[in-house]
């Protein structure tokens, strides 16, 4: 029954999204108050039906209704409760329904918040309605989660053991909050173009909370994904410039550019057209990311079984959404006011440089990710692009960005004193020097690039601290930029040290044998067989030694899951917060001897801690926004935006 209820709810939601699209766009006209009320009602109804459909699917998983195909594929009665729920989005169909659920949340939020006035809200709802309708058609025609098995199997196949992990379970919802959040800023941008003229000027202020939520979610989602790869995969790395990873990085790069450019638009009326274009581009990257991951056109270390026929539908969807928005942009953008003037030495210029660097970085990732696809389509030649390609562009671009970053928040709008700003930031050079000297003393071998990167991180964190100190006594939101920027510095510390100073050992060891890796001495005590609730495992015991004394015991493991006979390697990680030791159990060499691989990654936890700090910066800004209804004070009198 629940399956049919779910399917029916999706059909109702489709009907309501079409109503929302029509009424919403009609409601953009001043006189059409009735249309606006209908759009609002349709948005709320759409939300309710999507929640019902999603609830029906969750319920089917909870009661292990194996007559539903995807439940039988990804769940078993034995599966722990948490993984019965997270299995909902472990497959294509369920994850698309999760996408709709997030979209419904954002739609309801747009309707309820009513930011930017009734006409802008209405037009934004109209655009959301169009997007929702397109995605619902995609779900209903190519990937319905409610397909039945007849007869129903007695037991399900079970969730891929690799996904029975909290990190992997939370990763998709996080990313989707980011991807779909960019659909909200896209909807506001398109709405501004529909309205045109003076009515649309406050769109970037209206959309800002959505951009912030999307950006924070993307930041956390990417960090979570890379953390998961780091502790799950049997290599030392955390980022492989893999197409699936790039698919999530591209929207992040544009969203970051958008956050900065929208600030200039909102505060000063600068870069109006550019900000609109970025909002369109950001959502395009979300769609392209989804296409890359869902269509199965790419080979990736993260690939799951996927269905290429769906790729075509998503491509059509991308073409309609992006093409439509760009056509709208070409048609209406000239009607918008030109950007406000600013002097070369000003915060506007700083934001412009930020945008140029981020967009170039995006171009690099985009080219490297899609070039193999294009070549395959044109010549049938299968290639991949090596990680050095990305590194050779990305590292200099980001180093340059980070060198300039402390200046941005210290420069005034319209016109600024660059020399005075440089003097203010001078102590950050001291921080850079301290960081470099510390690295010089602690690190061996002394590798110049690593020490240089640490110095840049010191400069960025120091510069952010100066910015924060100068704002003492201000509202919490005023510290957002300083904290977010410092977060990137913290990540850089971790990235630089793990990349440059990681040590690894790969050995075959027998019981009682010792090995050393980095500063650690380890003793292999052998492997025992263990029985888990739904797996059998080979569990190694490895002692961490200090002289002859055992200071800690670690247990890397190999598991064979009962359902499907899938294998899983469970790494053991011991962290001091400043240094990670990771052990991976390899294969059985007979006579109690096993392959063992060990990685020591200095400062590795800072990579993900930094991302959290960045998201915290975003959160401060968001809460400042939601609390303060009044517009922020504007430093320069000329060309100020009309207040809400």
């Amino acid at each position: 029954m629940t399956g049919e209820l779910g399917q029916l709810s999706l059909c109702f939601a489709l009907a309501l999204s079409l109503v929302m699209a029509n009424a919403g766009i009609l409601g953009a006209k001043d006189a059409n108050a009735t249309a606006r009320r209908i759009a609002h009602g349709a948005a709320m109804g759409f939300f309710v039906f999507i929640v019902l459909a999603f609830g029906a699917l969750v319920y089917a998983y909870l009661v292990s209704d194996f007559s539903l195909r995807i439940v039988a594929d990804d769940s078993t009665t034995l599966q722990p409760l948490l993984y019965k729920i997270t299995a909902v989005w472990s497959n294509h169909e369920g994850s698309m329904l999760l996408w709709m659920l997030v979209m419904a949340f954002y739609t309801a939020a747009i309707a309820l918040a009513g930011r930017g006035g009734p006409r802008l809200t209405s037009a934004a709802l109209g655009v959301m309605g169009l997007l929702a309708a397109a995605f619902l058609l995609f779900i209903l025609f190519t990937s319905s989660p409610f397909l039945r098995f007849d007869p129903a199997p007695f037991e399900g196949a079970g969730l891929n053991p690799l996904l029975q992990d909290p990190g992997a379970a939370m990763h998709p919802p996080m990313l989707y909050f980011g991807y779909v959040g960019l659909s909200a800023s896209f909807a506001y941008a398109a709405a501004a173009l529909i309205l045109g003229g003076g009515d649309s000027e406050n769109w970037s202020r209206a959309a800002r909370p959505f951009m912030l939520v999307a950006w924070m979610a993307l930041t956390c989602g990417i960090a979570l994904g890379s953390w998961w790869a780091y502790y799950t995969l049997g290599w030392g790395g955390y980022w492989f410039w893999d197409a699936v990873e790039n698919a999530s990085l591209m929207p992040w790069l544009v969203a970051t550019a958008l956050l900065h450019s929208a600030l200039a638009t909102e505060m000063r009326g600068a870069f109006r057209s550019w900000t609109l274009l970025l909002a369109i581009l950001a959502f395009s990257m979300s769609l392209i990311g989804t296409f890359l991951v869902r269509s199965g056109v790419i080979t990736s270390v993260h690939s799951f079984a996927s269905d290429p026929t769906r790729g075509f539908f998503i491509l059509v969807l991308i073409g309609l959404a992006v093409g439509g928005a760009l056509a709208l942009f070409a048609w209406r953008a000239p009607s918008l006011q030109g950007g406000a003037a600013f002097k070369p030495e000003s915060r506007e210029t700083a934001l412009l440089i930020n945008n140029v660097l981020l967009v170039v970085a995006l171009t690099v990732v985009f080219a490297g990710t899609l070039y193999p696809l294009a070549l395959d389509a044109l010549t049938g030649q299968k290639i991949t692009v090596g990680a050095p390609f990305f590194a050779v562009f990305f590292i200099p671009l980001f180093i340059l960005l980070m060198l300039l970053m402390p200046f941005g928040p210290r420069l005034g709008w319209y016109s600024a004193d660059l020399k005075a700003t440089a003097r203010t930031l001078a102590p950050a050079l001291g921080a850079a020097a301290v960081a470099a000297v510390t690295a010089l003393v602690l690190a061996s071998p002394r590798i110049a690039t690593g020490i240089g990167a640490i110095a840049v991180a010191g400069w960025l964190i120091g510069g952010s601290a100066i910015d924060a100190l100068r704002r003492k006594g201000a509202r919490a939101a005023a510290f957002a930029a300083a904290i977010a920027h410092a977060g990137l510095g913290v990540s850089l510390l971790g990235i630089a040290s793990t990349t440059v100073w990681r040590s690894e050992a790969l050995v075959v060891v027998g019981p009682g044998e010792k090995l050393t890796v980095g500063p650690y001495t380890l003793r292999f005590d052998g492997v025992a067989t263990v029985d888990g609730p739904n797996y059998k495992g080979s569990r190694a015991t490895i002692d961490l030694m200090d002289g002859d004394a055992v200071t800690a015991v670690m247990h890397p493991e190999l598991r064979i899951y009962a359902a499907g006979g899938q294998d899983l390697s469970v790494t053991a990680i011991r962290t001091t917060g400043l240094r990670d030791l990771k052990l991976v159990l390899g294969d059985d060499r007979g006579q109690g001897r096993w392959t063992l691989s060990a990685f020591v990654s200095p400062l590795a936890p800072l990579i993900w801690l930094g991302a959290l700090v960045m998201a915290l910066g975003g959160a401060l800004s968001l809460f400042g926004r939601l609390r303060a209804r009044a517009p922020e004070p504007k430093p320069a009198p000329a060309a100020v935006l009309a207040a809400e």
């Binding site: 891929n160 690799l162 995969l233 049997g234 290599w235 199965g296 056109v297 080979t299 270390v301 993260h302 690939s303 799951f304 079984a305 030109g338 003037a341 140029v356 170039v360 171009t363 690099v364 080219a367 490297g368 070039y371 030649q381 299968k382 290639i383 991949t384 692009v385 090596g386 050095p388 390609f389 050779v392 562009f393 790969l506 050995v507 075959v508 190999l558 499907g564 006979g565 899938q566 294998d567 899983l568 390697s569 991976v584 159990l585 390899g586 294969d587 060499r589 392959t595 691989s597």
Partner: protein, 148 residues
């Protein structure tokens, strides 16, 4: 021309120049970093030179996995016509098995053995790397659900 228009023109010109330069650099670097995919048949047919990094894909031949000295692992990759010996030092992905699809990155040594630097991990039992499917199709050995 008004100052505003002139500024816009300069701006547009700067953007065109910068993006042109960037595109030139990016395409140049792309060419240097392309890693080709070769099926075992192609490896012998194209006489791939030793030392050239490429990816090889196919099935891990049955009964071919053996342990070398130290942590070394030897196996052969086959598209059921040609087999190529592979050596890898490291921990294999958990889903690595004889008779299953595999994709490895590395280069041939002078003896014609593929020295793998990494072996593609699969996340999913059902997943077959698309290149492996293609390699098997080329050699005419592909059947739906084959190799599982």
């Amino acid at each position: 021309m008004s100052p505003k228009k002139r500024r816009r023109l300069y701006f547009a010109a700067a953007i065109v120049l910068a993006s042109g330069g960037a595109a030139w650099l990016i395409l140049g670097a792309l060419k240097d970093n392309v890693i080709f995919f070769r099926s075992p048949t192609e490896v012998t047919a194209l006489h791939v030179q030793p030392g050239v990094t490429f990816r090889i894909g196919g099935l891990v031949a049955d009964h071919s996995v053996s342990h070398g000295s130290g942590a070394e692992i030897r196996f052969t990759v086959t598209d059921k016509r040609v087999t190529v010996p592979v050596v890898y030092r490291g921990v294999l992905p958990a889903l690595f098995r004889e008779g299953q699809g595999v994709v490895a990155t590395g280069a041939l040594d002078d003896a014609g053995t593929f020295q793998a630097t990494d072996i593609m991990a699969k996340h999913d039992e059902k997943y077959m790397p698309p290149e492996v499917v293609q390699a098997l199709k080329k050699s005419g050995e592909w059947q739906k659900g084959g190799g599982q």
